[in-house]
């Protein structure tokens, strides 16, 4: 095993199980459809709420996608093989998250314009939503990967740790929806986007290390 073969395999396995990717996408679509149905289908309600709804749906589907990302590797013994491969687990985690991110976020961005229409999001705000998703979701993925690593072995402390990790999603969502709302009100939103990018960068730098530690601890 080397980094390239690992990356290719991850890629292939996600392509094979297109479902996985589609899963997050469908979940996203589903949350977005549920809102008009469950709450209020009028454009007066939907248009101002659209950015928030889209971001909530994004966060939930990222969570869904990331939650079990190491489960199969744990069950079939792949994690043990990672550890004996002599490769850096931190980097393997990074690659895995990267693949996941691409596979989930790209399709999501493709269907977004259509769904945004269905929520009556003004066209001008669409670009801000897309940019915020591009900048913000890496943070969601990386933070989520720590949680996934923690829960993979079903250790007792895991739930607790999850409780600690989930709140980290909140700032991302607040800044992202803040940017969208600012855009809808014709205000400046570059500040929020910059913060989003900063959070993602920090998460990118720190999470693989944390996740690697958790993975190491979960194999025994």
């Amino acid at each position: 095993m080397n980094y390239r073969s690992f990356f290719k395999a991850e890629w292939l396995s996600l392509l094979r199980r297109k479902q996985d990717t589609l899963n997050a996408l469908l979940f996203f679509v589903m949350v977005i459809i549920l809102f008009p149905l469950g709450v209020d289908p009028s454009s007066e309600f939907l248009a101002p709420a659209a950015g928030g709804i889209i971001w909530c749906a994004t966060a939930l589907s990222v969570l869904m996608a990331v939650e079990g990302m190491y489960k199969e590797d744990f069950n079939d013994g792949s994690l043990e093989q990672w550890l004996t491969s002599g490769l850096s687990i931190t980097y393997l985690v990074f690659l895995k998250v990267l693949v996941q991110w691409l596979m989930v976020i790209v399709p999501l961005l493709i269907v977004l314009p259509l769904l945004a229409q269905m929520l009556f999001l003004p066209f001008s705000a669409l670009w801000v939503v897309m940019t915020s998703i591009l900048l913000g979701t890496p943070a969601l993925f990386f933070i989520g990967s720590i949680g996934a690593a923690l829960t993979v072995s079903l250790r007792r402390g895991a739930v607790l740790m999850l409780l600690l990790i989930l709140p980290l999603y909140i700032p991302v969502i607040i800044f992202a929806t803040g940017a969208v709302r600012a855009a809808q009100l014709d205000m400046n939103y570059s500040g929020q986007l910059a913060i989003l990018a900063a959070i993602s960068l920090v998460a990118l730098a720190l999470s693989p290390i944390m996740a690697a530690i958790s993975i190491r601890a979960s194999v025994n």
């Binding site: 095993m1 390239r4 073969s5 395999a9 396995s13 079939d76 043990e80 093989q81 004996t84």
Partner: protein
């Protein structure tokens, strides 16, 4: 990142190992060595700690006490040199069920050529199943995918935890041949198995409850 040279010579010294699991001592003051050309069999009944011993050497189960030395270097704290030079196959050998036999093998042996990969699969009688997803293979065939790696690797020290599980008689035969060749080449093997070895005579490390 440091790059380690692959060394075909093996000298693993295990000294005074004390492993504990779930409040029970699995071994205490256990010492043994593994050298080039040696086959070391870890023997013992179910639950005596054979798998745990291997995992402890690889660094996933904590050592209460003890030292490990690999080719003269102390690896008790940092196993990198050891990990770079070994190949481990455990009870669950990391076979992905969505991948075909060939793809599974390729993942772990990316440097091997197509020809070499197919040959390895032929050694384990899987040439006809190269493009079948692992999910659709029998229990023994799944194990064989993992074992095919042994024909391709250039790692010097092998850790094989119950490699004969689910293998038929011919498969056991082929595997023993492969192991014999590896030992002749200056490699070393640490194995656990409840089945007797037919052609190879191991040095035994006995664990008891």
């Amino acid at each position: 990142m440091r790059v380690f040279l692959l060394q075909k010579s093996v000298n693993l010294q295990v000294t005074n190992l004390w492993i504990e699991r779930g409040e029970r001592d699995l071994c205490r003051d256990l010492s043994f060595s593994v050298r080039s050309g040696e086959l070391v069999r870890i023997a013992g009944e179910n639950g005596t700690g054979k798998s745990s011993l291997i995992k402890a050497i690889l660094g996933w189960v904590r050592l209460e006490e003890g030292e490990l030395e690999f080719n003269g270097e102390d690896v008790t704290l940092h196993r990198d040199v050891l990990l770079q030079n070994q190949l481990y196959l455990g009870h669950t050998p990391g076979i992905k069920s969505v991948f075909t036999a060939l793809e599974n093998l390729k993942l772990y042996c990316p440097e091997a050529s197509e020809v070499a990969l197919e040959q390895a699969l032929a050694h384990v009688q899987l040439q006809a199943f190269a493009d079948t997803p692992a999910a659709q293979l029998s229990a023994g065939q799944k194990r064989r995918i993992a074992l095919a790696r042994l024909w391709l690797t250039d790692k010097a020290l092998w850790f094989l935890d119950e490699p004969f599980t689910a293998l038929d008689v011919k498969g056991v035969e082929a595997l023993e041949l492969c192991m014999g060749a590896h030992l002749k080449n200056g490699g070393a093997i640490v194995i656990t198995t409840h089945q007797p070895l037919l052609h190879l005579s191991p040095k035994t490390v006995e664990l008891t409850l």
